[in-house]
């Protein structure tokens, strides 16, 4: 053993023996400890299938796996995650190669102070200024490795300070990130003043900065770049109004072509909800808000903040994976309106058992820009008017009706109309804007308490891109352990006759308590898989897929 290790072992032994307690006390404390964790393993055997564009995979089998373990006892908590990509599944970011532990932390909480060292995830407000999070399905993980302190300084006032380096695959980004946030619950801080009041006010402010050395020979780049944000939430009775604003100082980077223009983002949200009715309006404008801890990076790497997409997150295959919207960090103006309403039993539309309707409309446009031609002078790049918009990026109007017809039959019917600027969203210059109509019927028939049959019929019609699609899915489930499903997606409307193919797929699975195993065989259409406005392209594939997931 090296000298350092011997010293640490000696210190730990001394520490443990010096704790002045008897065996019973020690047992008592240790018995309060608990371990929780989860495990996931996915593996795919790839077959070459030239008709659908599934290329040969030299390794034949690709697998992703991870295991999370968290120990907690009173105020102490520690955890570790081991990940393995040998190599990663197709469509997963290729930077994940090999195995290793890139997540380990220890944290301690006592009274009003909480300390975390190691890797952690944190969010200030909605994330416009700072958000580190994980989305294992996407391969998104920008955890900070460093130190985080949280302190409740007074009733309703919580302060957070953090510093660290961000994760990028099995390494860390060059930049050093440090941030500070204050979260204030006015009702708690001034509890006397707000006594009995129906109004609830929350405020917050944050400042985050990054340091990265300037190694650029062409420009003099700012080594410290800061972003500031403020937010407020007011709730009164059934109404809630939320506003958040972020301002980023000049941050020339690969994303914005090294201009010195500052960035800003504004998010406004209003909701009204009562029993049987929910209404939401939101608006967002972001301009030059890509904030990374390494200015030369791109794609989803090393992003410090998070710009939510203001579009509806769809779940049905043809709606969700063919033409989904991805947030445009460089500039976008987006609006969304959402209504959900329950027609009661006994009303005309409600019928015997009631009916729910959900209507949603969202749009996203480029910001209005006027090019400045100042590449050799101030390099501000462009100026942008706040109240006008540029070209259309995306429009989505959709309606969903949910109705129970009898104790055995329930149906969900969806219609959507999309306008999708493939050129900008997918980065395919020259591609025409796609106008698509989608209709979906999802019907569940319960044979008895255990057996159920569900059928999904989806249809997409468009004159652009790949043309019309039809999908049929039939799923048989035996509660609580089994399911089997067969699906076929048929691109019958493709203008190229050889591409008018069937994407058939058979899947089955077993689950028990916290564990589940799924096996599927067949073809998988190329698609775009998105969570929260962050997307990854999954290429077409054919073969056998196995997934095992467990929580304990």
């Amino acid at each position: 053993m090296s000298k350092k290790w011997r010293l640490w072992t000696l210190l730990s032994v001394l520490f443990v023996t010096s704790i002045n307690m008897n065996a019973q006390q020690f047992d008592e404390i240790m018995s309060r400890g608990q371990i929780k964790g989860n495990f996931q393993f996915e593996s795919q055997f790839y077959r070459e299938d030239t008709i659908i564009g599934a290329e040969e995979v030299p390794e034949r089998i690709r697998s992703n796996g991870f295991l999370n373990l968290i120990y907690s006892n009173g105020g102490v908590s520690a955890g570790v995650r081991y990940e393995s990509y040998l190599p990663p599944l197709l469509g997963y970011p290729e930077g994940y190669q090999g195995n290793g532990i890139m997540y380990r932390f220890a944290s301690y909480q006592k009274d009003n102070l909480s300390i975390t060292v190691g890797n952690f995830y944190e969010q200030f407000g909605t994330g416009l200024v700072f958000r580190t999070y994980e989305e294992r399905g996407l391969g998104y993980d920008n955890a900070l490795d460093g130190v985080r302190l949280k302190y409740k300084v007074y009733d309703g006032i919580q302060l957070t300070a953090l510093t660290g380096k961000q994760r990028i695959f099995f390494d860390y980004g060059e930049g050093i990130v440090r941030g500070f946030d204050a979260d204030i619950n006015l009702n708690e801080t001034f509890s006397d003043f707000f006594e009995g009041s129906k109004t609830r006010i929350l405020l917050g402010g944050s400042a985050v900065s990054k340091y990265q050395a300037d190694r650029n020979s062409q420009f003099v780049l700012p080594e410290n770049v800061a972003t500031f944000g403020g937010r407020a939430s007011i709730t009164r009775g059934r109404f809630n109004f939320y506003a958040e604003y972020a301002y980023k100082m000049n941050d020339p980077s690969a994303d914005n072509d090294f201009i010195y223009k500052p960035g800003e983002a504004l998010l406004l949200q209003g909701t009204y909800s009562q029993k049987g009715l929910g209404l939401l309006f939101s608006a967002k404008r972001n301009d030059n808000m890509s904030f990374r801890s390494d200015r030369t990076e791109g794609e989803q790497n090393l992003l410090i903040n998070y710009m939510p997409a203001l579009t509806k997150q769809h779940t049905y295959n043809l709606l969700a994976t063919l033409y989904p919207y991805a947030t445009q960090l460089n500039g976008e103006v987006a609006f969304q309106a959402d209504l959900i309403y329950k027609f009661d039993k006994g009303t005309i539309l409600g019928g015997d058992r009631g009916m729910d309707i959900q209507v949603n409309y969202s749009t996203a446009n480029n910001i209005d820009t006027t090019h400045l031609n100042d590449e050799f002078t101030f390099r501000q790049g462009y100026k942008s008017s706040y109240f006008s918009v540029g070209e259309v990026y995306f429009k989505d109007f959709n309606v969903q009706l949910t109705k129970r017809f009898s104790s055995k039959v329930k149906g969900i019917f969806t219609y959507a109309n999309l306008v999708y600027n493939q050129d900008i969203i997918e980065g395919k210059p020259g591609a025409p804007t796609v106008y698509a109509d989608i209709a979906i019927a999802d019907i569940t028939y319960r044979l008895d308490m255990r057996n159920a049959l569900r059928g999904e019929f989806q249809h997409l019609s468009t004159e652009q891109d790949q043309g019309d699609w039809a999908t049929l899915l039939v799923e048989y489930t035996y509660a609580p352990h089994w399911f089997i499903a067969i699906q076929d997606q048929y691109n019958y409307g493709n203008s190229e006759k050889e591409k008018q193919t069937h994407y058939y797929n058979l899947s089955m699975g077993y689950n028990n308590k916290g564990s589940r195993i799924t096996l599927s065989y067949g073809r998988q259409r190329a698609g775009i898989f998105c969570v929260g406005g962050v997307c990854r392209v999954v290429p077409a594939s054919s073969g056998l897929y196995l997934s095992v997931t467990s929580s304990f």
Binding site: S31, I35, Y71, Y133, T235, T402
Partner: protein, 168 residues
């Protein structure tokens, strides 16, 4: 530093040979009005609790919670059970939770876990994921995914707990 942290973590795991409790871990989540709530404070006065992780974009989750909603009042009358619906919707969809929950008329205790802190602490991988907590605050059962009819098995277990029986 790296090795030290891993050593501390591994020794903590070694110590759990001394005993295992299974209480609800402590994490900060948001209530629908935006204020924070500590999950360690989830309690139902000695009666069973169902903790269900869901999201507004998860179809099976919504199907499960809507199916249970049709029977929730009866379940509560019979067993006093409380269902805590923990949404893992993030900043993109957080604002939709309150309108959706109220629009559907759910009577559950709804919270939002916007950055996954409680989800991680509970070892949840995918949604829907359901946990059952007994009268003493111990997590005694869990289930991942949802198919039609799962709610009947869930209710059988809730009834057992409310009568003081143990679940294996």
């Amino acid at each position: 530093m790296n090795r030290l942290i891993i050593l501390i973590v591994i020794s903590c795991f070694a110590f759990t040979a001394f005993g295992q409790s299974d209480k609800i871990p402590s994490a900060k989540v948001n209530k629908l009005d935006g204020t924070t709530f500590n999950t360690a404070n989830i309690n139902n006065d000695g009666k069973p609790i169902i903790i269900n992780f869901w999201a507004t974009w998860c179809s099976p989750c919504k199907r499960e919670l809507n199916n249970i909603a049709e029977m929730y009042e009866l379940w509560q009358e019979e067993t006093g059970v409380k269902l805590v619906a923990m949404s893992i919707d993030d900043a993109r969809n957080m604002a939709k939770v309150a309108p959706y929950v109220n629009g559907k008329g759910w009577e559950y205790d709804v919270y939002i876990d916007p950055n996954g802190d409680f989800k991680r602490a509970m070892g949840v991988n995918n949604v829907p994921h359901t946990f059952l907590v007994d009268g003493e605050g111990n997590i005694v059962w869990q289930h991942n995914s949802y198919v039609e009819g799962d709610e009947y098995e869930l209710f059988e277990l809730v009834k057992k707990l409310s009568e003081g029986e143990k679940i294996d």
